[in-house]
């Protein structure tokens, strides 16, 4: 328990709140990596998930890519990207983007596919087709489950962004953890771990609120059982 106390003392030490290795700087870098990767991952996974879910085509491919992605170790992606394209933040962003895609893709596909067939038929009967059906009926109903995917991806990406410390010339909270481990400065590692976990939990709580806000009224109750489809985290 002493270790945790020392870690907390490290956190509040004013020396660690300024300079080139300052806590606010490392937190900003960490958030920047995570947000960039999540945005890039969403830009790829959400359109593909919406399209495959809407048309019902290539659904198995979407699911399998999602599962395959979970099987590939993040450390390996960072290592190969660093060796091939050089050091810096690009390999980190690439690996985190690859990590963000599977839950987003699987959830988006499942969410759109899972829209009640009767609701879809009714919408088609009312003259909704193609893009309008997707935008005005399928997406609103799929949104809560898509958000569940965003939450899973976000928590994973924030925890795994720690891997930036592995790469020279990249910042983020991973610096504290990797450098602390290399120097056997355990309080520094504890401080880094606490900050990363805190960021992850805060993001999850924030997104949970947002998720409730985007859930169409009267739909929330029916949703509870479908939430189980959301894959649990794995970072």
């Amino acid at each position: 328990m002493e270790v945790f106390l020392e870690g907390l003392l490290w956190l509040v030490d004013s020396e660690h709140w300024s300079g080139h290795n300052a806590i606010p700087l490392r937190v900003r870098e960490h958030v920047l990596y995570a947000v960039t990767a999540l945005a890039a991952g969403a830009a790829i996974a959400v359109p593909v998930g919406l399209w495959t879910g809407h048309t019902g085509r290539l659904g198995n491919v979407a699911i399998n890519v999602g599962n395959l992605g979970r099987a590939i170790p993040d450390l390996g992606i960072v290592a190969i990207a660093a060796v091939l394209i050089g050091f810096g933040i690009l390999p980190v962003i690439l690996a985190l983007t690859a990590l963000a895609i599977p839950p987003l893709l699987t959830n988006t596909y499942t969410a759109v596919r899972g829209v009640d067939a009767e609701v879809r038929d009714a919408a088609v009967g009312m003259g909704f087709t193609g893009w309008r059906l997707l935008r005005q009926v399928e997406i609103p109903l799929a949104l809560p489950l898509i958000f569940a995917g965003v939450r899973v991806s976000t928590v994973q990406v924030i925890a795994t962004a720690t891997i930036s410390g592995f790469i020279g010339r990249a910042g983020g909270l991973g610096r504290y953890i990797f450098d602390g481990l290399a120097l056997l400065d355990i309080p520094r590692v504890v401080a880094g771990a606490v900050l990363v976990a805190l960021l992850g939990v805060l993001a999850d709580v924030g997104l949970a609120r947002l998720q409730r806000a985007v859930t169409p009224k009267g739909f929330a109750a029916a949703l509870a059982e479908r939430e189980a489809v959301a894959s649990p985290p794995g970072g």
């Binding site: 290592a79 660093a82 925890a159 720690t162 953890i177 590692v189 999850d204």
Partner: protein
């Protein structure tokens, strides 16, 4: 290193010469994966039964394991160093804790999903709670429980690579060594075989599930 070797992504000659060590990495990777999944399953089962008896425990349990999951794996190993050193036990403890976040909810949901009529019928036939659990609830919950076990196993196979930083790693050690030597072949071998192991384990568990619970092929 020269640019000539850097452009060769896969040096097949190296792979052919190192089949022995690569095989050892695979075996070591499995040896690092199996104990945490097994311990994790036993602990989760106990916690799940506890959470079913004392319902108030369930939500806090899910929350605590969720927070533990938000701790980066490397930090977890580092945090255990003061207590367990750079030991195998260190790797096992951290990886075991990670399985709980997946396994506990799956076991609870699986057992909760058994229809009430079925459990009442078992009670009416004079089954004791223990016999009901073993003979009725557990078999019916098998598909959901194995679904959780599949996710936990795939996750742990990936996380084992990170134990390379505390001196283990299995195939993760190949990734780390390849990185330190700027040798892409060894990294690619490590990544590919890790993914292959994860997929093989996933399919094996799926086959097992279909064998023991043939009434639910769809899951």
């Amino acid at each position: 290193m020269t640019t000539a070797t850097a452009t060769v992504l896969l040096n097949w000659g190296w792979i052919a010469r190192n089949l022995g060590p690569i095989g050892e990495s695979v075996v070591e990777h499995l040896a690092l994966t199996a104990p945490p999944v097994a311990f994790g399953f036993v602990i989760s089962f106990g916690l799940a039964l506890l959470a079913r008896r004392y319902r108030g425990l369930y939500q806090p349990l899910v929350r605590v394991t969720g927070v533990l999951f938000a701790v980066p794996s490397l930090a977890f190993f580092a945090l255990l160093i003061p207590f367990l050193g750079l030991s195998r036990t260190n790797a096992y403890v951290a990886l075991t804790i990670y399985t709980l976040v997946v396994l506990v909810p799956n076991i609870v949901e699986g057992l909760d999903g058994v229809p009430r009529d079925v459990t009442e019928a078992a009670d009416a036939m004079g089954y004791s709670p223990a016999k009901r659990l073993l003979k009725v609830e557990l078999p019916l919950a098998t598909p959901v429980i194995i679904a959780g076990l599949r996710i936990a196993t795939v996750t742990i196979i990936g996380l084992v690579t990170v134990t390379a930083f505390i001196g283990f790693g299995g195939l993760g050690d190949d990734i780390l060594t390849g990185y330190n030597r700027a040798f892409p072949t060894q990294i690619i071998v490590g990544v590919t075989l890790t993914a292959a192991l994860a997929i093989a384990a996933d399919l094996a568990l799926l086959a097992f599930q279909r064998a023991v619970a043939p009434w639910r092929q769809g899951v």
